[in-house]
Symmetry: C2
Subunit: 376 residues, 2 copies
């Protein structure tokens, strides 16, 4: 089985590692260079989308901001899973919010802004404080604003207008500010036959808008809410593959914040923590194989490695710690890899994460140090 | 880090998969073709041993029957781990038995046979019944004889003689027949600094001389004996890397049967069952990184897939079952892959293995069916 992944980053790389034992071969398609490359060796395997499509049995994606002409060409081959609509929805905040409404899952009130008049309507409809997000292309905290008082609207509008005018189909989505206690996410997989499974929820900590820690949690009531919403969204999209839902947890009530139509950073803990990892389950789903068990094997916390290309070797000597480098060139703030930390019990997991604060530098791993200071 | 593996089979392949997350790149050197290839993609990366040695930071091996000139050239580069002597010892039954004596570990009485006179001396020294094994090149049950009565000596001698004369340095090692209850093995790793770790013992079932099932076991008294012998053998060889010891269990007393100076088929269960798998620990050892925890995460049984290139998809749907294909062309009896079966408890593991007998065909998986008939 030959799976073509649109996008050639770490998610394609980890799919490649998860696919090899199943004799599933992964090629990555770099939408910028138009090259087909092996995601592990970086060997160039071919040129041009048409050629890449022809060689593939199945086509999938590792990110949602894919040029629409590429998506359509893939969809026409009948090999693209999940479908173009699901991928586009993940890449357009307007479509995403409309989907959540259609699926009947709780999400924050919103209003789409194209003009200054829309902005005023948004303030009336959504209320203050509000969060403003570009509809297209925003991720990891970029293209976002907050409005705490109407008097600040004039001050931020020029930047918003510039963003809207910078591309043809751009808009800004105004959203009610949700006073959430924490962010949690649910990763699950849905097969071609409509069967679906979800992993245990994970709790996510962001630092400067980028995910820094993601830990499996044991929370039955929340898990049940998350499952119901996963089913609604996945079925509405007739989704095939791994799908991630990010939620706000507001005093035990989940609201969907966003969806990701792909394997997700908040699911990396499943490599050590779950019976079948998210990368294998995504491949099983799109290849029409039975889904694997998503059972928690060990409580696990994923620590993102941002902008660093070396770690103290004591990390490897720490029981339950596994490093996953992405083979990338070092760049400030870049996701270079992650550490999965596992233990038999949650209390033990906390103890190990606290001990990592003695090993990992505070400037590169502020969330670990914050965790340690809160739990010591 | 670039590690060259002498041999281009499934062990190099699985090292490649285990090394990628640590940014350790594996090339395999095919000693027959003289080509350097990527063990996953089979891409040819270079030609000739000298070139391969130059490109490598570290050289290791996935099998012990390596031409001595190749071993010596690698050893001279100062990059070979474990050393040539350890690898040669694993490939020569005479050296192996001498090592076990030197290390002071219990093993079956033996005598080396080159001539018919030696054979008679062996019968006097070792006694009847005896097992006869070619010193070089015998594995998976090939090149072995049994002598149950002195009157049969004349009948088997011509075949033994032919074996001895077929190559320069060949001999046959006569060994006392050990009435063992079962075969168990211990896989461990020793680092450059002399630190060492071992995995839990596994119990091995062979079918027609080929390993068919290997299951982690919880046996403290045996584990202690195994550890002591591992330490003795590994230190005697000043070993670096993963080393496997195969034992006869004779009423709770372990005798070393043989050693394998490499990752071993009876350690494949560690991919799902241990905190750090044997492939990662081998790479950590030879690369001078700290060894990873060998703690049992889940009781796990490995089922070899012999001569089959497809499996019923229900296997993937069974909780705790993970398939590892080797990407090889189908050949009768060939090791094509393995299934790791994991569970939270041993009783649950037994139940799952029994349920596999309803899914896997009896002719291809006789050991699974035998297990099921004994445990139902």
């Amino acid at each position: 089985m030959h799976v073509l992944v649109l996008g050639a980053g770490q998610l394609a790389r980890m799919m490649s590692l998860a696919g090899a034992p199943l004799n599933i071969h992964i090629s990555a398609f770099d939408v910028v260079s138009g090259q087909m490359i092996h995601p592990l060796t970086q060997e160039v395997q071919g040129h041009g989308l048409e050629n890449a499509i022809q060689q593939a049995d199945v086509i999938t994606a590792e990110f949602e901001h894919i040029p629409h002409d590429v998506l359509h060409q893939c969809e026409q081959s009948g090999k693209l899973l999940p479908g173009a609509q699901a991928i586009k929805t993940g890449g357009d905040r307007r479509l995403e919010k409309a989907l959540l409404d259609e699926a009947g899952v709780k999400n924050a009130k919103y209003f789409v802004i194209k003009t200054r008049d829309d902005f005023d309507s948004a303030i009336r409809h959504v209320g203050i404080p509000m969060v403003l997000k570009s509809a297209l292309g925003g991720y990891d905290g970029k293209g976002q604003w907050r409005l705490k008082s109407t008097t600040d609207a004039d001050a931020i509008w020029p930047e918003m207008q510039q963003c809207i005018e910078a591309s043809d189909n751009q808009a800004i989505v105004a959203e009610e500010f949700v006073p959430f206690d924490r962010e949690v996410s649910l990763v699950g997989a849905r097969g071609k036959d409509g069967q679906w499974v979800v992993y245990p929820l994970s709790e996510n900590i962001h630092t400067d808008g980028v995910l820094s820690l993601s830990t499996s949690i044991d929370a039955q009531m929340l898990q049940q809410q998350g499952k119901t919403m996963f089913e609604a969204v996945a079925n509405t999209l007739n989704y095939v593959g791994v799908l991630a839902l990010e939620f706000f947890d507001v005093q035990g009530q989940l609201l969907v914040n966003e969806i990701a139509p792909r394997v997700h950073n908040s699911g990396h803990w499943t490599q050590q923590g779950a019976d079948t990892c998210q990368f294998e389950n995504h491949l099983r789903a799109v290849c029409g194989l039975p889904l694997g068990s998503t059972k928690l094997i060990r409580p696990t916390c994923m620590v993102n490695i941002l902008g660093e290309d070396t770690l103290p070797s004591e990390i490897l000597a720490t029981e339950g710690c596994h490093i996953h480098w992405y083979g990338k060139e070092k760049r400030s703030g870049r996701k270079m890899g992650h550490i999965n930390v596992s233990a038999d019990y949650y209390a033990e997991l906390e103890r190990i994460i606290c001990s990592l604060a003695d090993i990992l530098p505070a400037d590169a791993f502020p969330a670990v140090h914050q965790f340690a200071s809160q739990h010591k």
